[in-house]
């Protein structure tokens, strides 16, 4: 987003806040939706989390100190909201993360809002076998094409560690696809 400082001022000023927030929504709703969806897998859950994310952004924008990019801050909120949503959902339903993933992947095959072919389903199965943090890194890099520097700000992990994590994730996925 061009001229971020000026845009943040618009977001904070009472007279320009609503219009600026509308612009923010238009700019981020799609990429954020797909980022959240890649974590929670289900459309209805992604819709809930996306709304919660923007409500949090709207509420806490006045506390945004500009220590990171606006983009990183918003994505951090979206990522944390997604992970918290899943934790709470699994706790309510008495599932472990792996159990939830198994059920969600099985549901994906008949999901109206998943038009992936067999190999895309296989990719999701391969991703599900990775450690949780590695899954996140892979999804953000491969599906969202987020740069390592931005990912580092969002996840609070060094660029080197992220690159290593992605490299190992790719190797494991390739191995899974080869043998399955």
């Amino acid at each position: 987003m061009e001229n971020e400082k000026a845009f943040i001022q618009e977001l904070l000023h009472p007279k320009t806040r609503d219009a600026a927030f509308g612009k923010l929504l238009q700019y981020y709703q799609k990429p954020l939706y797909y980022h959240i969806r890649s974590i929670v897998l289900d459309h209805d859950d992604a819709d809930d989390v996306l709304q919660n994310t923007f409500i949090k952004v709207h509420t806490y924008l006045k506390d945004f100190k500009g220590e990171s990019k606006l983009y990183s801050w918003i994505y951090r909120i979206a990522t944390n909201e997604s992970l918290t949503f899943l934790q709470q959902k699994n706790k309510r339903q008495g599932f472990t993360h792996s159990e939830w993933q198994e059920k969600a992947l099985a549901k994906l095959e008949t999901d109206v809002y998943f038009e992936g072919e067999a190999f895309q389903l296989q990719l999701q199965e391969a991703i599900a076998r990775l450690p949780e943090k590695q899954q996140l890194v892979f999804k953000m890099k491969y599906f969202q094409e987020i740069k390592y520097e931005d990912m580092s700000e969002i996840l609070g992990t060094s660029v080197g560690a992220l690159k290593a994590s992605y490299y190992h994730a790719v190797k494991k996925i390739e191995e899974f696809i080869k043998t399955n």
């Binding site: 819709d47 709304q51 992936g116 895309q120």
Partner: protein, 138 residues
């Protein structure tokens, strides 16, 4: 079927889609939810840091409690110590309670000494405290 290649992903590698018109209606639905949100109350410094203050208060109370307990224990010990001495003295000496009291009085008598009237003051004290004179001269 084309083999899947991570280095050459398809157009929609994740396979996820959204319902038709979802993004067009999203801002309206979000706006409705924002209007339903209660206003965010500002939290005072004290409430914001309530946990810290409660923790500090708890540490203070525990610290005072430990201090008081220690003092009480020390006092008890001292009382037991003096009680043991008193028992020993009464069992192993010929000192009566009166002698004992005299000794205590002697110990607590302050002898004021000044450079100018040192001798006078001493004589005065000795005259007033016969028991002290007796114990010094014997």
């Amino acid at each position: 079927m084309n083999p899947f290649n991570l280095n050459n992903p398809p157009k929609n590698p994740s396979g996820f889609t959204a319902p038709e018109g979802y993004f067009e209606s999203f801002s309206t639905r979000l706006q409705n939810r924002l209007e339903e949100q209660p206003p965010v109350k500002s939290i005072s410094f004290w409430r914001k840091n309530a946990k810290t203050f409660y923790g500090m208060a708890a540490i203070l109370v525990i610290g005072l409690g430990i201090g008081m307990l220690w003092r009480w224990e020390v006092q008890k010990e001292e009382e037991a110590h003096w009680s043991a001495i008193a028992s020993y003295v009464s069992e192993n000496t010929d000192l009566t309670d009166e002698h004992y009291l005299e000794l205590i009085e002697l110990q607590t008598t302050e002898v004021p000494v000044t450079s100018d009237t040192e001798a006078e003051a001493l004589e005065e004290v000795l005259l007033e405290n016969e028991a002290l004179e007796y114990s010094i001269t014997q």
